[in-house]
């Protein structure tokens, strides 16, 4: 049911871990549904470039693979580029996900946005993110 790319990212996840002095940290999901994703960003305040990104995920194979893929897709990219990353793009980069697993890719997008929101608060920059952006995301 999983593509080779999903299995590759699941077996050899990129950028696992924490960043001690992260510029922004986002954690989404909950234990009830059995998926929690935490993303750490290191952002260059001058250039607005994401210099480093890591994650930790409690979740299924798709959750781990989408976390891994999303970190790869935004590493070295600008904040604006990261903001435009969608769960669909992450899933596509993995050559697709089974329909029941699309919500796991939503989680990856959310974790990234949550980390950027945290950065927005800490840096005082306005990235156009709001707390309530996270309320009714759906597995589209």
């Amino acid at each position: 049911m999983y593509t080779d790319k999903v299995l590759d990212h699941f077996t050899n996840p990129r950028n696992v871990g924490e960043i001690e002095d992260a510029s922004g940290v986002g954690e989404v999901g909950n234990m009830k549904c059995g998926d929690i994703m935490k993303m750490y960003l290191k952002i260059n305040d001058e250039s607005n470039v994401i210099e480093d990104v890591t994650f930790k995920t409690f979740g299924c194979g798709a959750a781990i693979a989408t976390s891994s893929m999303s970190t790869e897709m935004i590493k070295g990219k600008s904040i604006d580029e990261a903001l435009s990353l969608t769960n669909k793009a992450i899933a596509d980069a993995l050559d697709g996900l089974p329909p029941v697993k699309m919500h796991c890719s939503v989680l990856a997008e959310e974790a990234l946005k949550a980390a950027l929101l945290d950065y927005q608060k800490k840096s005082g920059k306005n990235l156009g993110l709001n707390d309530d952006d996270f309320e009714d995301w759906d597995a589209e």
Partner: protein, 394 residues
């Protein structure tokens, strides 16, 4: 690489003796069992021989054996059929909260038809209490359904005690023995049940064949209508190869039980002890005693079951999990939830079910390989991180 099948509770490989018997029937006995000519008669004879084998295996009379299309169908025929056939006598039904969906969803359907259903709770090991059962009984209770043994955690239920009470009160009693047959003794006269369901593919027989035992004198309604096969309770031309295969399978399973079940229980205990002692923060789900001999259900806490099972599979160990991510819904297994397990524990559950092919060497391999798998997934788990830092889990 190794390839160890550890999902015998899901299904079993078809054993050679069964394949041989079935192929012979497929090739030679195409006659319709209802035809009285020379092509039909041998097919009829094969069915009746298989019926005798099944009857003998559960200490029933051959006339009490009805071949149906699956364990699921046997459960539905017993539950839907008998509740509908006896609805004038009352509309209260009792079952447990940890039944297989074949039973639970049949009761859900009956609720929509106006029946009231009590779902008995279970303790932390997945067992119902006889006291709870007695308290649930009402004057208008007409049917009780309790599984012989649970498919996820292997817990054996007190079906004989329940059966004695039902018989005394003249309440119909159905037992889902799909997981129990061939693993522990199943005797319909000891259990005092009116119905009992079993399935071919859990006992090294074919898929898509089941049996409903129905005690003489008991009434039920067919689920659908057509020819007169199986005493009109299961119309449709009989699946002769599958029926023959089930007959061979159950005869062998029961004959070998005396040696095979203790062997499996020993391996199971070694597996449980080995995993619990080598990996920290693990727990056994279900009881130590009073458990199916081939079932080990272990939670590796702070990792998620699907990730666990995928990694196990890559290392050649194929098993299953009760986590939400494997269920296709957003909830973990209803059995683990009914046992009162936290979401964290339920999500990390792994069911390893052993069988004929399992060797001691396999068990050593599993114990050895599971630890690095748990370590790897925990290293990327934010929940494990919180646990280690003494922070709230989520």
């Amino acid at each position: 690489m190794r390839s160890i099948y550890l999902d015998h509770a899901a299904t079993t490989p078809v054993r050679e003796e069964v394949i041989e018997a079935m192929v012979k029937v497929l090739r030679e006995n195409y006659g319709n069992p209802s035809s009285i000519h020379q092509f039909g008669r041998p097919s009829r004879k094969l069915i009746e021989e298989a019926r005798e084998k099944v009857a003998k295996a559960i200490n029933a009379d051959p006339r009490e054996i009805i071949f149906v299309g699956s364990g699921t169908e046997a459960d539905n025929l017993a539950i839907l059929g008998s509740a509908r056939a006896n609805k004038k006598k009352g509309n209260h039904l009792i079952t447990t909260s940890v039944e297989h969906h074949a039973v639970l969803d049949a009761f859900k359907a009956l609720e929509k038809e106006g029946f009231e259903v009590t779902y008995l709770p279970v303790d932390g090991e997945g067992r119902i209490s006889v006291a709870d059962f007695k308290n649930a009984l009402r004057d208008n209770t007409i049917l009780v359904s309790v599984m012989h043994a649970n498919n996820e955690v292997g817990t054996i239920m007190p079906v004989e005690e329940i059966g004695a009470i039902c018989r005394e009160k003249k309440i119909l009693f159905h037992v889902d023995a799909v997981q129990a047959v061939g693993k522990i003794p199943v005797d319909v006269t000891q259990i005092n049940c009116d119905f009992l369901a079993l399935s071919g593919h859990k006992i090294y027989g074919p898929k898509g064949i089941g049996v409903l035992y129905m005690r003489r004198g008991v009434r039920t309604q067919p689920l659908y209508h057509g020819g007169g096969q199986e005493r009109k309770l299961r119309p449709g031309t009989e699946n002769v190869p599958n029926i023959v295969g089930l007959g061979v399978a159950i005869e062998l399973a029961v004959a070998e039980m005396e040696t095979e079940s203790p062997r499996l229980a020993k391996l199971r205990d070694k597996l449980i002890d080995g995993v619990l002692s080598t990996i920290p923060e693990t727990r056994l789900n279900g009881p130590r005693e009073g458990r199916l001999p081939h079932n080990a259900n272990i939670s590796i806490v702070y990792v998620e079951g699907e990730a666990l099972l995928l990694t196990c599979d890559m290392k050649g160990m194929s098993c299953s999990s009760g986590s939400a991510c494997t269920s296709g819904s957003l909830d973990p297994s209803h059995v683990l939830m009914a046992m009162g397990l936290s979401h964290t524990i339920a999500h990390g559950s792994l069911r390893l079910s052993l069988g004929h092919s399992t060797t001691e060497d396999d068990i050593d391999y599993i114990i050895r390989e599971l630890k690095p798998i748990a370590d790897r997934l925990r290293a990327m788990s934010p929940v494990w991180e919180n646990f280690q830092k003494g922070l709230p889990i989520a």
